[in-house]
C-alpha cells in the first residue's frame, strides 16, 4: 500500500519538475519550438498563423492537410505570436493582445495593452510578460524592454520600462531573460524580481535578431546566420558553434 502512494508521489514530483523546467519534452509526433519573432505557431492540434491583421486557425489533427478553421481580426500590423500554456500572446504595432485557447479552434480575446506604435515581440509566463519595443523603424515609441504584470490577464499593467537601444527578439529561461539588440548585441537579464531586471552580461560581437531557449542551448538568429551558446549556467552563455555566412 505504502509503495503505491510512493509511486503516486514520485510521478507527481516528476510532473512538477517538468513544469518547473518550463521545457516540455517533445514527442516525435509533437511540434517544435520557434523564436519570438514567429508568425506561425503550433499548439496541440492547431496551427496558428498571423496574416495581415488576422489570426488564422488551422486544424492539423491530420498533419498532412491543414484544414482552415477560423479567422479572428486582431489589429492592424500584427507581427509576432507567442504561445504559453493555453494562451497566445500577440504583438502588434499598437499593443499586446492575449487570446485564450480554451476553445483552441476559436481563440478568444482575454486582455490587451496598448502602447505607442513600434515593433514588438512578446514572451511571457504565468505572472509577467516581457515586450520589446523598437520605435525607430516602426513608430515613435521609445526603444526599450517593457515589463507587464499579467496576473490579471484581462488587465495587463505596465510595471517597468528599461530603455535599451534597438531591442528585437527575446527568450525567457526561468529567472533569466535574453534580449536581442541587433547591432548592440545580446543582453542577459536576471528577472528574479521582474519589476527590476538586472543586467548580468552583454555579448556585443554579433548582430542578434532572435533566440530560442532549448534545454541547455541558446539558439541565436544573428544577421548572418546562426550561433549556439551553452546555457548550462543560464546567466553566462558560452559560445559553442557559430554558423555564419
Amino acid at each position: 500500500m505504502k509503495s503505491k502512494y510512493f509511486l503516486v508521489i514520485l510521478l507527481w514530483c516528476t510532473g512538477l519538475s517538468c513544469t518547473k523546467d518550463g521545457v516540455q519534452r517533445e514527442a516525435s509526433s509533437g511540434s517544435g519550438k520557434g523564436g519570438s519573432l514567429a508568425k506561425f505557431t503550433i499548439v496541440g492540434n492547431y496551427l496558428y498563423i498571423l496574416r495581415g491583421s488576422e489570426l488564422d486557425t488551422y486544424n492539423i489533427e491530420n498533419p498532412e492537410t491543414p484544414a482552415f478553421g477560423s479567422s479572428v481580426h486582431i489589429d492592424w500590423g500584427v507581427e509576432t505570436l507567442f504561445p504559453y500554456n493555453d494562451k497566445l500572446f500577440i504583438g502588434s504595432q499598437n499593443g499586446m493582445f492575449i487570446y485564450s485557447l480554451n476553445d483552441p479552434a476559436t481563440p478568444a480575446l482575454l486582455g490587451q495593452a496598448q502602447h505607442l506604435r513600434s515593433c514588438d515581440p512578446v514572451v511571457a509566463n504565468d505572472s509577467v510578460a516581457f515586450v520589446t519595443l523598437r520605435g525607430n523603424a516602426c513608430g515613435p515609441a521609445t526603444d526599450g524592454l517593457y515589463v507587464y504584470d499579467v496576473k490579471d490577464i484581462t488587465k495587463p499593467t505596465l510595471v517597468k520600462t528599461v530603455e535599451i537601444p534597438t531591442p528585437s527578439g527575446l527568450g525567457l529561461n526561468d529567472s533569466i531573460l535574453y534580449v536581442c539588440q541587433q547591432q548592440h548585441g545580446l543582453s542577459v537579464y536576471n528577472i528574479e524580481n521582474p519589476g527590476s531586471p538586472l543586467l548580468r552580461r552583454e555579448i556585443t560581437d554579433a548582430y542578434f535578431e532572435d533566440v530560442i531557449v532549448y534545454y541547455n542551448i541558446l539558439i541565436c538568429y544573428v544577421n548572418n546566420g546562426l550561433r549556439l551558446y551553452d546555457i548550462s549556467t543560464p546567466s553566462n552563455p558560452v559560445l559553442l558553434t557559430s554558423l555564419e555566412n
Partner: protein, 191 residues
C-alpha cells in the same frame, strides 16, 4: 477631439467624391494615353510551387527566422528556402541541407510535417526523408503578408517605344508581346 470627429467625415467626402468621379460620364480629368503599343502576353507558370532539396550547406545571404525540433534546427533564408542544421552535437552543429522554397519566411513543424509559406501559399512539406522532401498539401493564398512575390524577370518588347508595364504575378510570366491599343506608360528607350 474635433479632429477625430472631422476625420471620418473628411474621409467619407473624399471617398464619395471619388466614387462620383468614377461613375460620372465625364471621364476623370487625367487619363493615361491609349497608344498603339506593346502589350505583354502572360503564360501560366507554376514553377514557384516546386520545392527541392539539396545536400550540403548553402550560403547565407539573408538569414531569417529559426525553429528547432528534436536534433534539427531550421533557419529560413528569407524568401529563398530553409537551411537544415544537424544539432545532434551542439558543439559541432552544421548545415546539412537546404530546402528550396520560394518566398519562405515562416516555419512550424509537427511530427514529420513542416509548414511554411511558399510566397502566399501555405504548404505542408513531408520531411521524413529530407532528400525526397515533397509538398503534400497546399492552401493557395493563405498568407499574403509574405514578401518577395513576383520575382520573375521579363524580356523587354522587341523594339523601342511605349509598352504596357507588366504586372507582377507569382503564377504567371511574361512570355511575349503583341501590339494592341493599350494604356502604355512604360517607355523602352534602351535599344
Amino acid at each position: 477631439m474635433l479632429n477625430r470627429r472631422l476625420l471620418p467625415i473628411l474621409l467619407c467626402t473624399i471617398s464619395f467624391s471619388s466614387c462620383i468621379d468614377f461613375f460620372s460620364k465625364k471621364p476623370y480629368a487625367y487619363q493615361e494615353p491609349v497608344r498603339w503599343a506593346w502589350k505583354p502576353v502572360y503564360s501560366a507558370d507554376d514553377s514557384y510551387t516546386r520545392v527541392t532539396y539539396q545536400n550540403g550547406a548553402a550560403p547565407v545571404k539573408r538569414a531569417g527566422k529559426i525553429y528547432v525540433k528534436g536534433n534539427y534546427i531550421f533557419q529560413t533564408e528569407t524568401g529563398e528556402g530553409i537551411h537544415i542544421i544537424d544539432n545532434s552535437n551542439p558543439a559541432q552543429s552544421r548545415r546539412i541541407g537546404f530546402l528550396k522554397v520560394g518566398g519562405s519566411e515562416e516555419i512550424a513543424i509537427k511530427g514529420n510535417y513542416l509548414y511554411t509559406n511558399n510566397y502566399y501559399d501555405l504548404v505542408t512539406i513531408d520531411i521524413s526523408q529530407p532528400g525526397e522532401a515533397k509538398v503534400v498539401s497546399r492552401s493557395p493564398n493563405a498568407f499574403y503578408a509574405a514578401s518577395g512575390a513576383g520575382n520573375h524577370t521579363w524580356e523587354l518588347p522587341p523594339d523601342t517605344g511605349w509598352y504596357q508595364c507588366p504586372t507582377y504575378y507569382i503564377d504567371s510570366v511574361v512570355s511575349g508581346w503583341v501590339k494592341d491599343s493599350v494604356y502604355a506608360y512604360c517607355l523602352n528607350a534602351n535599344q
